[in-house]
């Protein structure tokens, strides 16, 4: 904000020019209009839909008030799906953060092949969740998947393991795939932040007798707190919103064992054709994200004082 006075002079109005505020608005307005029309309006409209009984493919809307919301909250699928979604997001967040930090710490050191390591590291980021689902579905396929074959050939197992035997296992495997694809991104963010830790601070701590672990916890972690917050939020969001692996690998099954909120909402709207209820589920999801994000920002932000 220090540049503001200079900015004002930069675009001071000249003869024949429109006022600065008008000029700024005219530059920004296409984007503002697009954002309003494509983001704000649909959000409001979604609320409107969620207050109706709307069947996909039928234009007759029936006002039902908050019925969709009360029926969702009472639905026996709601709490299990919510719990699963939260656990899934938590697992993804914790592992992405820890592994990402570990990789970043390794990358701060000099070793032969560092450049190659860094380049290879980024590749998983390129795969979409769809490709991720296919890849991990194939690797863990119990009969033809390479993982069982590899473990068997190495003599680590005597018979093939049915990796997809329960819904919970499938979710763990999907979470692992997601961590695999998020770690590069987390590691590079952490690396960038770790490289800004002042050397004097580290040296001073070393002189004071702090070992590597305490130096890491007491100096590096607080220093990269903002990056930590970003990584936590981004990986939690990715976990919370995981959808295509469920769509492709399980369809929510066996039974309803792999229902995440995203899948439940999609299924309700686009397979059971109940758009109003689907909009309500997605609205509840959005609210949950808002609450969780605020809580995370408040929680991690508070550490500043310690």
């Amino acid at each position: 904000m220090t540049s503001m006075p200079a900015t004002l002079r930069l675009h001071r109005r000249r003869r024949g020019e429109i006022p600065e505020s008008l000029f700024g608005l005219s530059l920004a307005s296409p984007a503002i209009v697009v954002t309003l029309a494509l983001l704000a309006y649909p959000l409001v409209y979604s609320l409107w839909v969620s207050l109706h009984k709307v069947t996909l493919g039928n234009d007759n809307w029936k006002w039902v008030g908050l019925d969709n919301y009360t029926s969702i909250l009472r639905d026996p699928l709601f709490l299990p799906s919510l719990g699963r979604t939260l656990t899934f997001a938590l697992i993804v967040t914790v592992f992405t953060t820890i592994v990402g930090l570990a990789v970043a710490l390794i990358l701060t050191e000099n070793f032969r092949g560092r450049a190659i390591f860094r380049t290879l590291l980024i590749l998983p980021w390129a795969l979409s969740q769809t490709m991720l689902a296919l890849t991990f579905g194939w690797i863990f396929n119990s009969t033809f998947g390479p993982l069982n074959g590899l473990l068997f050939d190495l003599g680590l197992i005597n018979e093939y393991i049915a990796w997809f035997s329960s819904g919970q296992n499938v979710l763990y495997i999907i979470a692992m795939g997601l961590v695999w694809s998020l770690v590069p991104f987390a590691a590079l963010l952490f690396l960038g932040a770790l490289q800004t830790v002042p050397e004097e601070l580290e040296r001073a701590a070393r002189v004071d007798g702090a070992g590597p672990i305490r130096r890491f916890l007491l100096i590096k972690v607080p220093w990269i707190r903002e990056t930590l917050l970003i990584v936590v939020i981004i990986s939690a969001l990715n976990g919370f919103l995981t959808f295509s692996p469920i769509y492709i690998l399980t369809g929510g099954g066996p039974g309803t064992e792999t229902y995440l909120l995203s899948w439940w909402g999609y299924r309700t709207g686009f397979l059971d054709l109940d758009l109003g209820r689907s909009a309500a589920i997605f609205y509840v999801m959005t609210m949950l994200i808002a609450v969780l994000a605020l809580a995370t920002v408040a929680g991690l932000g508070r550490r500043r004082d310690i």
Binding site: T35, L123, T135, L191, G192, Y247
Partner: protein
């Protein structure tokens, strides 16, 4: 003086011992580090290796247990996917949708990227350099809007686009992709413009450039790396998106690449080779992009997030 000379040998012996111990500890540390590096490399590369492996195997080879780790190269999977382009035969199964999917997604993603640059650069510049009603508060609203999940927009987009006759068209998907990419683009570019020295613009103004001239003769050329990066970033988001692609556009003749790939997953048919080949083909553009973009994206996301 004499006391000091008497102690000195003892000290040096002790320090030699300590040095030795430190040396040993360093070697252990180095070995541990190497082990960790190798472990991470295997963990990163193994899925790609498995994919490549099975994509270059004949179906019979891919179903052998235990697997062949070094196969006789076989191109039948790629031939099956790419073959239709030459013969122009009618679509006869999910593999035939990969190439049209790539073309459709390339159109959607490219237009999304271009629109992001056009809208995003103007707005990003305005938010970085100009003062107007909302110029201070709107950027943080844009950032907060990143928390709105695409799911929240799914039902309204479906209803409205259907009413407008835009479901199952590429236009409809482009509109949806724009909504999830543009706010972030504006935010990133605002950060980028803030990083450009203002003196250059002032010099241009002093030399008699109009505001518009200043922007397109001075600012935009300087911001070219940023503009390229945000467009590629938006390209990647649109290319990899599955949700809008499958809900807003489910017909086979306008199908996008991610649903097309999802259609390859069929455990019963055991066509793992084709599945892997399709995934790898569809991942080529994004893999090139991340290799090209990595430095910028990390810097961009960080600057976007910290430059309040």
């Amino acid at each position: 003086m004499t006391a000091a000379t008497a102690i000195a040998p003892a000290i040096s012996a002790k320090s030699a011992q300590m040095r030795q111990r430190r040396e040993r500890r360093r070697r252990v540390r180095k070995a541990l580090r190497s082990a960790a590096i190798i472990l991470f490399l295997v963990w990163i590369v193994a899925p790609f290796y498995f994919l490549l492996l099975v994509s270059f195997q004949s179906k019979a080879d891919s179903l052998s247990t235990p697997p062949n780790w070094f196969p006789i190269p076989d191109f039948s999977n790629y031939a099956r996917i790419l073959g239709r382009a030459l013969t122009n035969a009618p679509i006869s199964g999910p593999p035939d949708l990969i190439l049209p999917g790539i073309v459709n997604s390339a159109i959607v993603a490219t237009i999304t990227g271009l629109l992001n640059v056009v809208f995003g650069s103007l707005a990003g510049y305005a938010f970085a350099r100009l003062r107007f009603p909302g110029s201070r508060r709107l950027p943080s609203v844009l950032l907060a809007s990143q928390m709105v999940p695409a799911f929240a927009l799914l039902v309204p987009y479906y209803v409205v686009l259907r009413r407008l006759g835009l479901t199952n068209t590429l236009t409809g998907v482009i509109i949806a992709e724009l909504s999830i990419t543009l706010p972030f683009t504006i935010w990133l570019l605002r950060g980028y413009f803030l990083g450009i020295p203002i003196a250059l613009e002032r010099a241009a103004r002093v030399d008699g450039c109009s505001r518009i001239q200043t922007i397109y003769k001075v600012v935009l050329p300087l911001a070219r790396p940023g503009l390229i990066a945000v467009s590629l970033f938006a390209f990647m988001v649109a290319w990899n998106d599955f949700l809008f692609a499958i809900v807003l556009n489910s017909r086979t003749d306008s199908m996008l690449i991610q649903p097309a790939i999802a259609g390859l997953y069929n455990v019963r048919e055991q066509s793992f080779g084709i599945m892997a080949a399709g995934s790898l083909l569809a991942a080529i553009p994004t893999m090139l992009l991340v290799l090209f973009l990595q430095r910028f994206l990390v810097r961009g996301i960080l600057s976007g997030a910290t430059k309040g």
